[in-house]
């Protein structure tokens, strides 16, 4: 499957949040303001791409050759936790301004099902190395797209008259549902 196809698939058709339901916690939690949404999206894209690389390597260089498939879950989550820790320390050293922008969101990403979900999905789909990296990057962009769109809408919602019980998570989910509906229109785009 062509790389461009995978890219479009992961950003639009199989959008991580609106199709695979991954990353809902940060999606709901960090989408109140546009700039934090953008920062979170970028942080996630960054970590996702790296995770795609590392999880592919672990899967194909260590687990599969040694028939250790059942250790996938444990090894992935440990690697992701350490990866996020390392990435945070690395960014802090290399680029303090970048850390200022992204830093606080990084620890939140560990238990973000989106990252673990990416590692598992990539392993499931069994793509080759380059395709996996594109998949990781594309999924991150898709997540960013969804969260930024959501933030834009929510900032407007602040001014609207939302019924009391629906304020916060309730209306956010309904909006997400309408977005998901819109994104369903992207299915079948791929030849």
């Amino acid at each position: 499957m062509e790389l461009l196809t995978i890219l479009i698939l992961s950003i639009l058709v199989n959008n991580f949040v609106l199709y695979y339901f991954l990353g809902i916690c940060p999606f709901l939690g960090v989408s109140k303001k546009l700039d934090s949404a953008v920062s979170m999206g970028l942080a996630v894209t960054f970590v996702m791409t790296i995770t795609a690389v590392v999880s592919w390597l672990i899967n194909h260089l260590i687990l599969i050759p040694n028939d250790l498939g059942y250790l996938q879950i444990v090894s992935f989550i440990l690697v992701i936790a350490s990866l996020v820790q390392l990435v945070e320390m690395f960014i802090r050293k290399i680029s303090p301004p970048l850390y200022q922008a992204l830093g606080i969101y990084l620890p939140l990403i560990t238990t973000n099902c989106a990252i673990m979900g990416l590692a598992l999905l990539a392993a499931l789909k069994n793509y080759n190395f380059i395709t996996t990296v594109v998949f990781g990057f594309g999924s991150g962009i898709g997540f960013t797209l969804a969260i930024v769109l959501m933030a834009g809408i929510r900032e407007q919602l602040e001014l609207a008259d939302v019924p009391e019980p629906l304020k916060g998570a309730g209306i956010a989910l309904i909006v997400a549902g309408i977005m998901a509906l819109a994104f369903t229109g992207f299915s079948g785009m791929i030849q």
Binding site: L71, Q72, I73, L173, G177, I178, A180
Partner: protein
Amino acid sequence: MPAKSIGQEYMKGLWAENPVFRQLLGMCPTLAVTNAVINGIAMGLATSFVLILSSLVVASIKKLIPNQVRIASYIVIIATFVTIADRFMAAFFPPISKALGPYVPLIVVNCIILGRQEAFASKNSVGRSLVDAMGMSTGFILALLLLSSIRELLGAGTFLGYQVLGEWFKPWIIMILPAGAFITLGILLGLALFIEMKTQRGRA
């Protein structure tokens, strides 16, 4: 603050501190696998398995684990039980395992589980932790059951695969699609808050 009775410890998971409707945790699987009741139940049971056993283990060895490595240890413990659940399902219930797909391994990042270890099992006795885990599990299963019943009934006219609504009912396909999941959960959340607000006002 008076200590809760065992009964209260259990019941809080069902409503007052329901993991999905009140704590807003564990949403990813709640949305993903509730397209059919059987999937919701299977996921609920698998998650309960992991939650209860993890809580038991963490509560038992909490004194032995140094503070700095507690999250890492919890994660390894949780991941172990998740793998066991995942393998067991793949071996003995292949169709359900396929239907649930990557969401069983994703139990490992289900915030409910890590959350309970951090908030409760690491600070309470084994007995209480067990009851707390059971309560949260029940609450979670109920949430999944509710959401999946609505989605399957309206989206396919069936319940547990059995045709319930007759020929006259044209299924609302949207319910089975991701959009339906989001909207239904959003409305349910609103409903839960609404009920909560009404009962608060009643008491005040």
